[in-house]
């Protein structure tokens, strides 16, 4: 009999059982109930509901705006995370705390505030509108709201990973003759890319389901600025619970597919990175290219 491995926390069986029950109660049960409810409709009917002109337009708006918002945050969130980890500056703790605000703010408040800011007479809107840029009550407004809501996901995912990259690695790359650009592209970026993808995926998933903030800034015009959650509410207004569930299930399936592909991509890049070389070797290679 092999020797028993001692863990810090006891009771693997208990902990696993607890985990399964907890996840089942919290996630599997409601989602299962939803799928079960939707299965009262035939597959053909679900597809029919999900491919109506209005539903298709709403899917396009929802997933398109969510993708854009997540992409914007992947870029600017990376910069924010980098600054917050690497540079000391006065008020840094304050700025760091600011990042979490979108988590804490009720989403409706966020939506109303953004709509007021970006409306034609708002602080920002009055300067943008003469330039022909309309934000509030257009699809662009949806992107703005989703970008606001999802910022913390990218920043908070990236921060610990950037903290783990020691400055010595950059110094090593530099001392071996790598340029700044080479150091970033060949040493730093590969190390943070998996976390960036995770942050992107989290932001995207959160954005797809967002309702409270969006409806106040979207304008909600059919075929132009209606999001799928609004259509779901619209079905509920008609006491059409089944139709609402059908839309929700399709949305869930699409989100799951997208998240799965992000995960696969992440797993693939992480693996490639692992099989390749540790950071120090990458640093050496980066410099080798110039040598």
């Amino acid at each position: 009999m092999p020797a028993k491995i001692h863990r810090v926390l006891p009771g693997f069986g208990l902990a696993l059982g607890y985990t399964l029950v907890y996840l089942s109660l919290l996630i599997l049960l409601p989602l299962g109930g939803m799928v079960l409810k939707a299965s009262e409709l035939g597959f053909a009917q679900i597809i029919d509901i999900a491919t109506g002109e209005r539903a298709l337009a709403a899917f396009r708006v929802t997933f398109g705006a969510s993708f854009l918002a997540a992409a914007v945050n992947a870029f600017f969130g990376l910069i924010v995370a980098w600054i917050l980890v690497r540079y000391p500056f006065p008020g840094k703790r304050f700025v760091d705390a600011l990042v979490d605000l979108p988590f804490a703010l009720p989403t409706a408040v966020a939506g109303i505030t953004l709509a007021t800011l970006y409306a034609g007479n708002g602080w920002l809107g009055q300067h943008l509108e003469p330039l022909g840029i309309k934000v509030a009550y257009t699809p662009l407004g949806i992107v703005v709201a989703l970008t606001f809501i999802t910022l913390p996901f990218v920043v908070r995912t990236l921060q610990p990973v950037i903290e783990d990259i020691e400055i010595e690695v950059e110094e090593a790359a530099a001392s071996l003759g790598a340029s700044r650009w080479q150091t970033f592209v060949k040493v730093i970026f590969p190390a943070i890319f998996p976390a960036l993808l995770t942050g992107f995926a989290l932001a995207f998933a959160r954005a797809v389901g967002e309702y409270g903030s969006v409806i106040f800034i979207a304008g909600n015009l059919p075929l132009i600025s209606e999001i799928t959650p609004l259509l779901i509410i619209s079905k509920l207004e008609q006491y059409d619970v089944l139709g609402a569930t059908a839309l929700a299930v399709v949305m869930l399936a699409l989100s799951f597919l997208l998240l799965l592909s992000v995960n696969v991509l992440q797993w693939w890049t992480a693996n490639r990175h692992k099989n390749n070389e540790p950071l120090e070797v990458a640093a050496a290679k980066a410099s080798g290219a110039t040598a």
């Binding site: 109506g52 209005r54 009550y137 059919p222 609004l230 207004e237 006491y239």
Partner: protein, 332 residues
């Protein structure tokens, strides 16, 4: 463990004690902006009931979107009475067997103790000269309304415009739909709800005209000042009802039928009617309507029953998926 159960039982005791202070408690599930009306009405009823029966009664309010509220009641929220702003929401409860099938006959006036009307709010001086529904469809006019499919306020506006178009020479369903198409083209957005539409119009200064309840106009005056806008009464508009009903299943279970019935009956009393008038809702009482005439100018109205054959039918024809509203936007 002992500690937890001790504190739990203390908590339970506390809850029981607070409930026991009143002899009876009633829960009124109501629509969103009814807060003010019932906040003022509840103490009136408590006083009346105490004087009449010696029983002290605790009144709780639950507010939310009308449709959300009735769904909560259908799902088990133990409301003794429902006071809503759309008949089809109470119809839903009647279909589920929670409310009497003939609920509209249980109280006078179609079970609606007070009414309002859909009116136009325009900017000071009415710069676009907006007088009637056809002005809203004129090119270059911007109209601010909540989503016609998802909000009661938006639906009332839609149906008002439709009814007006029907009454025009040669008016029929086809011409009415064309008219609505033109009118909706003038909406730069559909607000999330009635109050959101008000904010968009008054605070963000969007649009030339806002369509909302007459009662809401007074709220706007309180919030933004009377000089900021004018109220325009169109030649024909909807008389909006605010139906009430006793939730049979709940009062039978709780044994609160007498109190619940009395609570709603009292809405038709002089005090109840005056409270409505003071909250800018048109009382059913003719004398009071006269007393508050300055606040309620005469306006030609129609009811949904007269023009559309009932709230349910109107909803099915116009706002269900594929209904007249959807047809305006989606060709398929």
């Amino acid at each position: 463990m002992k500690k937890i159960s001790k504190s739990l039982s203390a908590l339970l005791l506390g809850l029981v004690a607070s409930a026991a202070l009143a002899d009876v408690n009633l829960l009124n599930a109501s629509y969103d902006v009814a807060r003010d009306v019932y906040k003022d009405y509840n103490p009136l009823f408590q006083k009346y009931w105490k004087a009449k029966t010696g029983e002290s009664i605790e009144l709780k309010q639950s507010h939310g979107g009308s449709t959300k509220q009735v769904r909560a009641v259908a799902d088990g929220l133990e409301a003794d009475v429902v006071t809503m702003n759309q008949a089809n929401d109470i119809e839903f409860l009647a279909d589920k067997g929670l409310v009497a099938k003939d609920w509209t006959k249980k109280f006078p006036n179609n079970a609606s103790p007070y009414t309002s009307a859909m009116v136009f709010i325009v900017r000071k001086g009415n710069p676009k000269g907006i007088k009637d529904w056809n002005d809203l469809a004129a090119p270059g006019t911007q109209v601010i309304i909540p989503h016609p499919k998802n909000t009661g306020n938006g639906r009332n506006t839609y149906l008002s415009a439709w009814a007006w178009a029907l009454k025009q020479p040669g008016g029929n369903d086809k011409s009415a739909q064309e008219f609505l198409g033109k009118l909706l083209k003038n909406a730069p957005l559909f607000a999330a709800g009635g109050r959101d539409a008000t904010t968009t119009f008054m605070q963000r200064r969007m649009g030339d005209v806002l369509i909302t309840f007459e009662s809401e106009a007074e709220m706007i005056a309180k919030e933004f000042g009377k000089g900021e806008f004018e109220v325009v009464y169109p030649s024909l508009t909807m008389q909006t009802e605010f139906p009430v009903a006793v939730v049979e299943k709940v009062v039978d279970k709780k044994g609160t039928r007498t109190q619940a019935q009395a609570y709603l009956d009292y809405l038709w009393s002089k005090e109840g009617q005056e409270n409505a008038a003071q909250n800018y809702l048109r009382p059913r009482d003719a004398e009071l309507l006269k007393k508050y005439a300055a606040q309620f100018p005469p306006v030609k109205t129609f009811t949904v029953d007269e023009v559309f054959g009932g709230a349910n039918k109107a909803f099915a024809t116009h706002f269900k998926d594929g209904g007249s509203f959807d047809q305006i936007y989606v060709q398929k």
